[in-house]
Symmetry: C2
Subunit: 273 residues, 2 copies
């Protein structure tokens, strides 16, 4: 089975995920386990506010989580998330969010696409920029973290590692791992037009036991999701010569629903020039 | 119905096609109609040898045609092609073969991809190069011919115009129209990776009544067909970082059968630099 059951076990449970990442020595937001409401008070005292309370499973696009601020009704928030076992995470004041989309072959070869800088709007990915506008060294460090995680999972296929680019006490860039997505990822959709090998082809190459393809980028990338009724602009988008439009064929438009995306690839000077 | 019945009527019958092209004042190889074997002698006397005898319908990849040289057994060649009504064409000594893949929208907008230079091997397209290595002015002239033909057909969709790049008596380049293909074309397969809009998306845009996409090219193109057992090299091709492989999923490999193709896009300096 590829990518393999371990990746699923680790990534579908936020506690297993954080434990796995910490076990690799990778930095994450501080966290505490919260088996029940009684445990939440002491955890909150340790983590401080603001903090983010999250269910262990079934979270995406901001679902299954709630911010606890000064004055929040904590029992009510806990109840609103279903009242089961949860995880409490410290809030990270980050400069930006980023992701590494990487692939590992059956033979263990690893390739990563360039670092994606991701802008979210109400917890939903709105725009991805590549290259990410980060300090020198941050991209290489992020790719190294992704390689470490994909290797430790003995993963085969495409995986995305979501990161916060924050700062340490001295103001230097510091990477915190947010979560693992054991699959092709929204922040990698630009690879269809923008890379030598798309993340979708890359995943098939990996799980079929074929050689991985080149992740070389064709230019500077801007990818914008079409959320809810933004997709109704499709005809205007089609008329823009440098916009590559993708609609997902969802029959119903709902607020906050990802209906499609648009990729733009801009010429940039060759590297080293 | 799009592209429309006229394009089909014209392009599926070699006599109708030649008559249509000549009617537009476009240059083609000299030709004569050959309703039966008796008419072939006089036609051959007028056209001269070598000449190419072709059935009126169902010809592709060199099928349905035969070269008549000095000493050829003409009645035998005529019989071998089925003995029905045919067309006799003068043999054109060309510098190269080329094609224009163009699209026309419901509103009548026309866009053309850059001129494709096509190398054939035993009548089957082997390689396409873009830009075509032709004299200045030839590409613009070819696109103008394609626009004239697509307009005259009131065509909607993607069409390919196949051309011979020959020379006139003074040695200047001269374009002769070979045939019309009322569809996406093998010589345009490079547009999947090599153009802002692929010929397949372009065709859908056209027939759906959407705005046409940009045909802008992403670099210098080399496309090679995989004929017969050439497709068995697929694993080596996949391991080349700049090769984009397409296999058509045909279950049986036969000599001369198009099994797939490989596209390479090379960086080239921006125009005007």
């Amino acid at each position: 089975m590829r990518p393999g059951p371990r990746a699923l076990a680790v990534s579908q449970d936020r506690l297993a995920e954080k434990t796995f990442l910490s076990g690799l020595g990778l930095a994450t937001a501080p966290f505490r386990t919260v088996p029940n409401l009684e445990a939440l008070g002491p955890a909150l005292a340790e983590i401080g506010r603001p903090a983010v309370l999250k269910t262990l499973r079934f979270g995406y696009d901001g679902k299954g989580q709630a911010m606890i601020r000064e004055g929040s009704d904590v029992p009510e928030l806990h109840r609103g998330l279903g009242g089961g076992p949860m995880i409490l995470e410290g809030f990270v004041a980050f400069d930006c969010e980023a992701s590494v989309v990487a692939a590992r072959s059956v033979e263990g070869a690893i390739v990563a696409y360039d670092l994606c800088e991701n802008e979210h709007d109400r917890h939903i990915l709105a725009r991805t920029h590549v290259p990410a506008r980060v300090a020198p060294g941050v991209e290489a460090a992020a790719k190294a973290i992704a390689a470490e995680a994909i290797e430790a999972l003995d993963y085969v296929g495409v995986l995305a590692l979501e990161l916060f680019v924050a700062r340490d006490a001295a103001g230097e860039p510091r990477l915190l791992v947010n979560e693992l997505a054991p699959r092709v990822h929204n922040s990698g959709h630009w690879t269809i037009e923008g890379a030598q090998t798309s993340q979708f082809e890359q995943h098939i190459r990996a799980i079929a036991g074929w050689p991985l393809g080149s992740p070389a980028r064709r230019g500077r990338i801007e990818m914008a999701n079409l959320i809810g009724d933004e997709a109704e602009e499709w005809r205007d988008i089609l008329a823009q010569p440098d916009h590559s439009l993708h609609l997902y064929g969802k029959l119903e438009t709902r607020p906050g629903r990802k209906m499609g995306h648009v990729t733009r690839v801009f010429a940039e000077p060759p590297r080293g020039v």
